[in-house]
Point group: C2
Chain length 145, copies 2
DNA sequence: TTATTCCCCACCAATTTAATCGGGAATGAG
DNA sequence: CTCATTCCCGATTAAATTGGTGGGGAATAA
C-alpha cells in the first residue's frame, strides 16, 4: 500500500506553489522543470487539482497556476484525496452480487473505517504551510542572532 | 489507496478459520465455497500465509488448514503485511537519481512516517478474535436474560 | 490576428493484479 | 503396495491500473 506517482507529483507541485508569493503565477513549464515532472503529465495533475478548487489558473501571456487558497488552509488530505480517492478502503472492492458469507465482516469494515478516520485526521490536520516550515525552520534561526 | 483482493481474501480466510474450533482443519474446498474465492487463487494466498507462520496445514485424507496461533494473537497487521508488504510508504517511490528540488521534502517524509506509525499501531493492535467479537457480540446478549 | 498558455481527450506502454492450469509430493486407508 | 485425497508449486495468461505521450482546441492579451 503506497501512494501513486500522481499523488507524489501533485504534492510536489502544490508545495512549490505554496513556496512562492501567493499572487504570483507559475507556468506549467516552470513547475515542470522545478519538480522534474514532464509538462504533459503535470498537466493532467494540475487540471485535476484545479477542478477540485485547490488551484486556479489563467491562460494567455503571463498566465499560469497559483493556489486558490492560502497555503495555511490547504491540507495534505485534500491533495491526496483528489488524486487517489479514498484512503484505506476495503469494501469498495466487493462487487454487488458478490456477498457470500464473510465477504463483508462488519467488524472488519468498522475497523477499517476507524483507521481511515485516523489517517484522515492526520492528513487533514497538516497544511502545506506546516510542511514548508518543517523543511526550513527559519523561525528557529532567529534565536541565534 | 486501497487494499488488494489478495489481502481481502486473506482476511476472509483467516477470519473463517478463526471462527472454527482451533483443532479442526478446514479444507481449501470448504474455505473456497464459504469465502466465495476460487480454489486456485485461494491456494496461493493460503500458502503465503503458511510460509509466514500464520497457518499450518496437513495433506492427505482429513487434511486441511488451520491457524498456527490462537485467534487472539494473530493481528490484522500480520495478515496484511504478508500480502501487501509495507503500508503507507512514500519515500520508496522516489528513484535514486531522481532528486530535483522538492522531490523529497523532508517535512513531508516526516509526516508520512508519522502516519505510517499510526496505521501500524492500529493494525498491529487488532486481533482476529477482536474482529469476530465485533461481528457477533454474544456477551452483550447475556445481559438480556 | 497572432503568440501564448491553459484545456481536453484519446492513445500507448509497462507494470501490477487477479486468476488459471497442469502437474508433483506427502499422507493415510485399504 | 497402491491408490485416492489433499496440499504444494511454478508457469502462464488475462485484465486492470499506472505512468506517460500526442495532437488539437479554446481563452487571453498584446
Amino acid at each position: 500500500m503506497r501512494f501513486s506517482k500522481k499523488t507524489e507529483y501533485a504534492l510536489r507541485a502544490v508545495l512549490i506553489l505554496a513556496d512562492h508569493p501567493p499572487n504570483q503565477t507559475l507556468q506549467i513549464q516552470e513547475l515542470s522543470s522545478i519538480s522534474g515532472v514532464s509538462v504533459k503529465f503535470l498537466e493532467q495533475i494540475l487540471l485535476a487539482l484545479k477542478k477540485e478548487g485547490i488551484l486556479r489558473s489563467k491562460r494567455g501571456v503571463g498566465g499560469g497556476y497559483q493556489l486558490d487558497l492560502p497555503a495555511r488552509s490547504i491540507t495534505l488530505g485534500q491533495v491526496i484525496r483528489v488524486m487517489d480517492g479514498d484512503l484505506c478502503n476495503l469494501s469498495s472492492t466487493t462487487t454487488s452480487h458478490d456477498t457470500p458469507a464473510y465477504a463483508g465482516s462488519s467488524g472488519l469494515q468498522t475497523r477499517f473505517s476507524e483507521i481511515d478516520t485516523q489517517i484522515n485526521q492526520v492528513l487533514n490536520d497538516t497544511s502545506l504551510e506546516e510542511i514548508l516550515s518543517m523543511d526550513r525552520p527559519k523561525d528557529v534561526l532567529a534565536f541565534d542572532i
